[in-house]
Structure formats: structure tokens, C-alpha cells
Amino acid sequence: MAVFVIRRLIVSFFILLASTFLIYTLVAVSGDPLGDLRADTSPNRQQKIDARIEKLHLDQSIPARYTIWISGAAKCAVPGLDCDLGEAKNGQDVSALLGTAVSSTLRLVAAATVLAILLGVSIGIISALRQYSGFDYSITLMAFLFFSLPIFWVAVLLKQYMAIQVNDWYRDPKVGLVTSLVLGALSALTWGAIIGGSAQRRWVVRGVAFVASVGALLAMSASGWFKFPALGPGLITVLSLGAAVGVAALVAGLVRRNVLYACLATAAVGCIAQFFVTPWLRDPKWASWTNLLALLVVAVAVAVAIGWALGGLDKGQAIRATVITAVVTGLVIVVDIALRTVNPYSRLVNGRIFATTGSETPNFSGTFWEGQLDLLTHLILPTIAIMLISFAGYSRFSRASMLEVMNADFVRTARSKGLTERTVIMRHAFRNALIPVTTLMAFDFGALLGGAVITETVFARRGMGSLFVTGLSQVDPNPVMGFYIVTAVSIVIFNMIADIGYAYLDPRIRLS
């Protein structure tokens, strides 16, 4: 494995050399870097021109300029040396500009990737299992639509419509009867498709989902929940226990009582823990990412212990299930805290909780949670805009892959051993279906980055994308190259992760 990684790094190094040279040359010839100065009418025009020629080494040939740049950039890779990515036309240091921009873009891209993969793959697999059903057709139609959407148009649409209409709605948030019924119907159909089974069972699920959704929406509307949202201990308990049952059903099947009890126990521990954890995390003294991470580690450790103790004959499965349950329960608790932060946050931003410009509210000062919520609300709309296309790609691809696997010989062998359909799907088909999806991850990431550039422009986020756009339109190579080198390195890293994932999933290629 180490040899593999090192070899890839060396190859990637040369590829990066080639591609950075290509981009540098193209940007350099894309226009006249002195264009704006030539039209200048001020008396010291010539001095300005000379100054810029010297600063950007415009008197030297393009390859020479590139060499200067790359030697500066190489210093970034060596710890201890200062990063020298050159200066922008206006004199700002590119690495400084990048510093703030990278985190903004990274948040966006990471959120979009994770969401697109999780949602896309799960919906794709469900579609494959319910082939030719109404659910399948609607998802297929949606995927086609998303493939044909121009990102910039969607971004503008989201920005104008959601931000303005939804923020207006939030001033007096109520859900009407008609809307509740429609949303309830949608929820019913979706849950019916996800749970599946006999026609009778599906109708029961639909009925329950419809009633529950409509009831919940009307109750939330009447009680003013939207203004002061929270989950509360009751709902947290219900959700965690429900998740425990769901995870146990998926991982081991409800017949394996050991796993079910282990998951329920884990969820119960989490529910009890919330009474200590929630106030502790909400205290500004203790709220931080490191503490959250520490809590996660503790939760996973507890889950492993419970799974091992109660797992009986299926310790491995039980531990897997309890860890997932613990993570979900933890997520539920964090969501509760985040929801409770909405009200104080909304007061800080004058009730306009869905932001449409920038990556954070300028001059914002609030608690840790309010700060995180602020970042989140600025993130939602751009993330949705970008991930639509990726989601469509993942769902179609994993659907096709799953369909192919379900027709494979070894699936028939698994059935012939007398395994339950659930085991056949989750244990045998699922993992094989995931293997090709990792190859898609590599291609999709590059497209996602392109989408990020567009949405950053639309939502006026100060990310790397805007560095690129402004840099290119002004024929300013250094910011563009700064953007590109970060992009290229992240693509290379992401590809490597995808390859490692592929090798983990498929033992056939591990030996080579």
C-alpha cells in the first residue's frame, strides 16, 4: 500500500508540472496584462507600466515566468519555508488571499460532495431495487432534469426565490392546510417506496407517514415551532430509538435479536447522555470542534463496548450496527442544539436566516453555535445548487451498477444458499455495486469544483472561485495559478482516496 501511494505521488507530481505549465501558458496568452494601463491617461502611465512589468516579470518569456512561479510554489510543499505564490496585480500576496478563500470553498465542496454521494447512492440503490415502480420513474425523471439544469440559472433562482420568499415567510412562519396535505402526500409516497414490501405493508406505511407528516406540520405551525425550533428530549428519544431499529434492520435483519438489543441499548445510552451533553456543549466555554470530536470518539468507544457485550454470536455485525447507531444518535443531539440556536441567531441577523451573499455574515459576533449556524445558513443554497447535478449522476450510476449486480451469478448463488433477501442485497449486492461508483467519484469531483466557481460568483462568496474569475478577466496569472494549484492538489488527493476506497472494496486489485 505504501509503495502504491508513493508511486502515485511521484506520477501525480509530474502530471501537476505539466498541467500547471499548460494553464500558466494559456492564462498568460489569454490577453494583454497591460491592457488596462495602456488606456490609462494619467501622467505617470509609463512608470506604472514599468513597475508592473518588473513585478510580474513581463519582460521575460513565458516559460521563464513559469519557472519563477513554480519555484515559488514549490516552497509551499516544504514545511518551514514561506509559500511564495506571487502577487496579484493589485499587490496583494496570493497566499494570503488564498488562506481565507480556501476554507470557504472547501466547506462548500466538501458539503456538496458528501451530500451528493450519500443521497445519490442511497436513492440510486433504492431505485434499482424498485425498478419500474413509480418511485423509480420519478427519480429517473428528476435525474434527467437535474442533468439538464444550468447551475448558474439554478443558483440565481435559489438566491432570488428562496432567499427572498423563504425569508419573508419566516417572519410569520405558518404552514397552511393545503401545503401540509401536499407535503404529507409526498412524504407518504417516499416512505412507501423506501420501506417497500407487500402492497398491504406499503399502504400501511403510507398511511402512517401521511398522518404523521400532516399532523407534525400542522402542530409545528400552530405552536410556532419554527420560531423556536428544538427537538426536545422526547423527540430525541423517539428518533434515536427509531434509528436504532432501522440500523439493526438494515445491517443484520430484525430477526437477529442480539443486534437489535445492542442498538437499542446504544440509543438509550445516548438518550440518557443528552441530559449531560447538551448543556455542556451549549456552554460557550466548552463548545468547540475538538470537544465535539472527543465526544464522538467516546460515543464510538461506548458503542463498540455495548456491541461486543451484547452481540452474542454476531459480535462483528453488532459492533458495526451500534457504532452507526451511536453516530446517528449523536447527530440527532447536535441537530437539537443547532435548532435551539436558530432563534438567538435569527435575532442577530434580523430574521433573515437564509443568507444569499458571502460565506458568513460580516462582523459577526456570537457564540460558537451561532457562528457555525451562520456558516451553515450561508452554505445551504450554494450547496444545493452544486449538488443537484452530482446527485443525479451518482443516483443514475449506482442504479445501473446495482441493477447489473442484481443480475450477477453470485447473487443467485447467495439466494440458493437460503439467505434472506435483505442479506443478499445488503451483504452481497451492495458492496459489489459500490465498486464502480468510486471511479465516478474521481470524475465528479472536478465537475463539482467547476460548479463551485459558478456558485461562488452568484452568491458572492469570497472563495477561490472568485479569485479565478477576477484573475482571469484581468489577465492576472498569479491568483489564477493559486486557485489552480489548490484545485489540482485536492483533485489528486481525492483521486487517491477514491483509488484506496476501490482497493478496499475489491480484493481483486489489491495484489497488483
Binding site: L22, L145, L149, P150, F152, V156, I164, G450
Partner: protein, 345 residues
Amino acid sequence: MTTLPPQPITPEPGLPGTVPPDPVSGAPQGGGGVEREFTIRAMTQRQLVTRRFLRHRGAMIGLAVFVVVLVLANSAIGIFGLPGWWGESYQTTGEVVAGGRMTLDLLPSFADGDGVALGNHPFGQDNVGRDYFALTMRGAQISIVISLLVGLIATTLGVVVGALSGYFRGWVEGVLMRITDVFLTIPLLLIAAVVGKISGGGPVTLAFVLGLLVWVQLARLVRGEFLSLREKEFVEAARAMGASSARIIFRHILPNALGTIIVNATLTIAGAILLETALSFLSFGVQPPDTSLGRLISDYQQAFQTRPWLFWWPGVFIIAIALSVNFIGDGLRDAFDPKQTRVRA
């Protein structure tokens, strides 16, 4: 019950599988003839594909929509110097009438009293009084032309390089793979923006440079197809019969790869529209005085609150074109490779 006397052994020329007549009674043995068993009508590959394509509802709808948009855009404002039937031009500025509102009225008279009408400016007017319908049509025309050109260039280059590298391997393949590796680390939008800026903004040049970028993906796919097809037995057989490489490529492998090529060419066209409009939105694509649907959206994104139609119509057309091409591509994919469950006896 009749018993047949032992038959003399006589060599019988003719097709294998036919039964020679009984020399005693003259009636053919194995009654009824062999034709009775063949109850399936054979069709050529092309007929099968065409039939399946025509049966695909999505593809037919897509084809219809695309043709409608194509004809509408080109006939309304004319092409190659031929005049169109739409009176207004997309270039003449003028006075902004009634705040540039849409004069299109689709509701019949009994609904709102005005009747169905097109009016002078069915899509309204832009900030300087130009007719928006003409602008949109011009944008659609340019976008379609660019994407078709990109598709053509990318497919030609992609097939040639992909075929050569997949079949002959050698240095062509090495170069292609290195180029692909480099391109993989460059987000398409990025490099498209750069070359778009270099190209200056004329639609044809833009199409050209975009095609020079997009062919790489297609070449990889074609190479993959050729790599697997060249191992098939029918290629081996052709080689054994002394066929030249050119003949093998053109007569044997290419027709089998045609399905993948056509489907991916269609998808490339759909992707090209989205790419070009995105570039124009960022102002790295089509430059004024020409217009593009992306530019229109970029110019009027702020107008969403007051004059939303300026924003909606170009978007609707982009989606219509891309969606219809995608459906056509899906229909083609199903036509070339239908997914049928296997039944083994």
C-alpha cells in the same frame, strides 16, 4: 404403422439440415420441411435499433422538442442571411414600451378578456428596448450551433484518436493516456474559461476551441471500446482471413462501437450547451455584440424581482434543449443496448 425399409447410403448435395426425399415414396422425410420451426422474423441490426429507438417515448418527445426549438429559432430570425419571419430584430435598440413587459398572452378571451395574442414583444424587451424574443431566439440559435459543432469536432477527434490508440496501442495510446491524465486534474470549466477568453468570443471559434477540449473524454471511451472489441473472435477471424488493419477497423470494429459513440456524442452535445452557457454567464464565452442564453441570464439576474420573464425565458430554453438532447441520448442508449432479463432453459 408403416415401417420404412433401410435406406441406401447415397451422398446428397445440398444445404446441411435439409432432408433428402425418400427414394421409395418420393415424399420428403422429416415431414413438413425444416421451415416450420423458424417462427422468428429476422431483422438487421439497423432495423432493430431503429425500431427500438422509435418506440422510446422519451426519446421521441425529446426529438420533437428539439426539432421545434431548432426550427423556431432558425426560422424566426433567419439563418445564413436568409430572413426570418419574425419582424423585430435582436439588434435594433429602441424605446422601452410599458416597462418591457411581455406581450404574450396565452389565456383565451373567456379567461381574462384579452384573447390569445403574441403582441409586439411576446417575451418583453431588454433594458435598451431590444426585442427579447428575438434575443432569446438568437441565443438559442447560437447555443445550438455551438453545441452541434462541439459535438462534431469532439466526436471526430475522439473517434480517430480513440480508435488508433485502442487498436494500435503504441505511442498513440501513450500520448492519449498522458493527455487524459493531465486533463483529469483540470476542471473542465476552468480550462474552458481560459481558452474561451483566448478565443475572443466569436461563436464558431469558441465552438472550435471547446471541441478541442472535450474530445479527450470521448477518446478514452472509444479507446476502451476498441480495446475490448479487438480481442473478440470475429476480429481474430478477420485477421486470419487476411484482412488489413484498416478493413478490420472500419468494417468490423467501428460498426460495433457505433452504439457507444453515438450515445456519447449526444451526451457531449448536451454537455456542450451547458458548458457554453455557463461560460457566457461568466463572460468568458460568447461576447457582445453576439448574444447567448447564458449572457442574457447573466445580464438580467438582478431583474428577477421586477421583470422575472427576462430571467425565465432563456433558462427555459436552455433546459428544453439540454433535456431533449438528453432524452434522445437515453433513447439511443436503450436502442443500442436494451436491458433484457436473461432466461436460460
